[in-house]
Symmetry: C2
Subunit: 449 residues, 2 copies
């Protein structure tokens, strides 16, 4: 994507016509008829990377008659997917065999991440990773790099080349890992501070203070992370919590004064409305309540939770009316098994079914769009087609394979009920082949094949 | 696939060179070094649909110098997958939302199956279904049609057009379903008998006496099924068992004199060495032991068991040394979510991981090849590259997507350890795109795209 092309399309208004799906409220709490916005024949007008107008074609087209319209017949446009938790250095070790979390980290993850000291290598993988996100319709992600500042820098540089809104931050690790992946807490504090000043709010980049998890940080390091959060309150906190029983046991041993896992992060001032905790599988009512009250968010990673045998996330409880917690969907590659948020929704459905709950396609899409945007406090910028938001969106093919075409012989839906059925089949059967086009800030992304 | 083409290639010996994987024993009980046969540079020679020679290229090529050799470099050849339990009429209703077994049957399945009274419609779906199997590398399946004799007939006819070894039989249902799907038990007995005489052993077709499950058959009908089994002892029995808790509860009510679900089938003489029971999720030690002693088989359907929230199959117990039960892998479409045995293996891995067990790629491939052949008592004909077996095999691409190519930068494995890692990544990340070619009885299948 050359600068010239970007500038050209930025300055000229563009329009897309077709069927659009997004959300105006949370379908976990509000009936689909009130929370889902489905426009069977809609028009999206955007300019300079932002939505200029959005609505029914018949209402808008006379106002925008001069603009060239790209029509996607029989397709479905939705906001770009947001991946709320993913490790870019683990891209190449996805699908590693035979272990649960702690052994998997030692055997596969740590040796792989050590390679990211080499900035050229890191750039190669970062570049592949971002293209893979786009290939799967993911336009924004909350990403873990490694402990190496250069692994953060190349990720932001490559994201900016693609004009993608990526949130990331140097991984903080000061104990319980191989020496090659440990950093001095004070050094990491200084590096993080410098990176926040360089990257947070630079273009579309945003920064997250990223202690890996309680086990790999000393109390000193978590205290410095808390200090950073106080110094830069609008920066994110991104970490893991309560994924695996052995991890929880070890955390309890390392922090004997904390009443539970969440309390470790609470004690260091790391739990607030821009904190994202990945997994949260084995947490109790009290922790759900405290997360709710703090406005913190959970990244639900179903393919990973199944692949690593971590357990079943209690989505129903997280989205209770009494103590609602913000939840977004996440692939968690390389513990997760796919970059596709469609495949991730499919596994989310399975996780819910095993608990006797049904995850509707609207709830699932919400978790990967507006729900995740809210989890990131970015609902003013991302997650729906509202006027003024950034024009990150994707074009979905409900007939991407012969089987999907048989299942959805007529791809276009006239009603919300029809859409629910057709889109659900796509969510269960679909993968990257369903992503016809990915638009990033109004520009059609060019993705290597 | 024209008759002429079939005859031509049948009479001329053909050879394939490349890397081959199959099994000479069961990797659940015998170390991979003794049970897995991996030939990094092998030669497979076949003629008239059967394997003529198989071994290392260097050992064989001088004997077969005159034969034209097709080389698949960087690919992996394995025996054709066997799908041990799948419903062809449910192809078009795969991925139906929001229910567990009993409601799912009523809401989606029964209305769909009623359409198969129309033979033309049934043929259209049977044709698509068989092509979809081939697209996914599945060359043999144990299939449920519907209660309509014509739905059985068109399936066998379409399978014979493709020369596929398909096992099926008219579904027996005489109660607890809509009237349109009920048949008189005596009538069904007569129809089944006639079909057995027509189809069992006709070409590659084989017949299975197929009571849907205990709930939809009266005691009279199960008794007639048992009578058929005594009259035709080498015919299969194919049914469901212990998939869902509500189903089990209702079965217990309907058959109060039976000590458990399996005992219903036992009482009617339906449990033997050609009996295949799909699911068997909620069965106890006694049932595992009795299945083992009877030589009966279980079809393990992980994508379905997750999708319908049925539960986690105890594969470790089924494959115990004390009471080993034959197990084969099955997609169970339309309760299952994919025709791909690779995706089915991936979900099988997840089901095992949730129970703290790891399913190696060799065990997984065994369940879909030689293990399933043994479950069908067809290990003399199918499931490996042994000389004299039928030449059903597939060519796998370990680099079928950009992500898979990154994960497996060098597709060719020299050692068993290398193969285990590479093939495992394919099993987790792969789908129909990994199936480069499907050979049915020595002929390259032509599959619509």
């Amino acid at each position: 994507m050359s600068q010239a092309a970007t500038s050209l399309s930025d300055s000229t208004p563009q329009a897309i016509r077709g069927a659009f799906l997004d959300f105006v409220d949370d379908p976990f709490y509000v009936a689909a008829s009130e929370s889902v916005r489905y426009i069977p024949d809609g028009l999206l007008v955007f300019q300079q990377g932002k939505v200029l107008a959005f609505g029914a074609y018949q209402d808008l087209h006379s106002n925008y008659g001069a603009i060239e319209v790209t029509q996607y017949s029989g397709k479905l446009m939705v906001p770009g997917f947001i991946d709320l938790h993913v490790h870019y250095p683990q891209t190449e070790m996805i699908a590693a065999y035979g272990a649960q979390l702690m052994e998997w980290l030692e055997t596969y993850t740590f040796p792989t991440e050590a390679k990211f000291k080499d900035a050229d290598y890191a750039r190669k993988i970062a570049s592949f990773f971002l293209d893979e996100l786009l290939r799967n319709g993911t336009t924004t992600a909350l990403v873990l790099p490694t402990i190496f500042p250069q692994s953060v820098q190349v990720l932001f540089e490559e994201a900016q080349r693609r004009n993608m809104r990526i949130i990331a931050g140097q991984v903080l690790m000061s104990r319980n890992a191989p020496d090659s992946l440990l950093n001095d807490a004070e050094t990491a504090y200084g590096q993080t501070k410098e990176q926040i000043q360089t990257w947070h709010g630079n273009g579309r980049s945003l920064y997250a203070i990223t202690p890996r998890f309680a086990i790999t940080s000393t109390a000193e390091e978590l205290a410095l992370a808390g200090k950073l959060k106080r110094e830069f309150p609008d920066v994110y906190v991104h970490t893991h919590m309560s994924e695996n029983l052995k991890e929880i046991e070890l955390t309890a041993k390392l922090f004997p004064d904390c009443k539970d896992y969440l309390n470790v992060y609470e004690q260091f001032g790391l739990v607030g409305d821009r904190s994202v905790f990945a997994h949260c599988i084995h947490i109790d009512d009290s922790a759900f309540q405290r997360l709710s009250e703090a406005g913190a968010a959970i990244a639900f990673c179903p393919t990973s939770n199944l692949f690593l045998g971590s357990g079943l996330f209690k989505l129903g409880q997280a989205k209770s009316s009494q103590y609602p917690v913000k939840v977004g969907l996440a692939t968690d590659v390389g513990g997760g098994t796919s970059f596709s948020q469609l495949q991730t929704m499919s596994d989310a459905y399975k996780v819910a079914q095993l608990q006797g709950e049904s995850l509707s396609v609207f709830k699932a899409f919400y978790l990967a769009t507006l729900g995740a945007a809210k989890a990131l406090a970015l609902e003013d910028k991302l997650g729906s087609f509202d006027v003024g938001k950034e024009a990150d969106f994707i074009v979905l093919d409900l007939q991407a394979t012969p089987l999907m075409a048989l299942r959805n012989p007529v791809p276009h839906a006239e009603s919300l009920d029809q859409l629910a059925e057709k889109a659900f089949a796509m969510m269960i059967l679909g993968d990257d082949r369903s992503i016809v086009a990915t638009y990033v800030a109004g520009n059609l992304a060019s993705i290597p094949t």
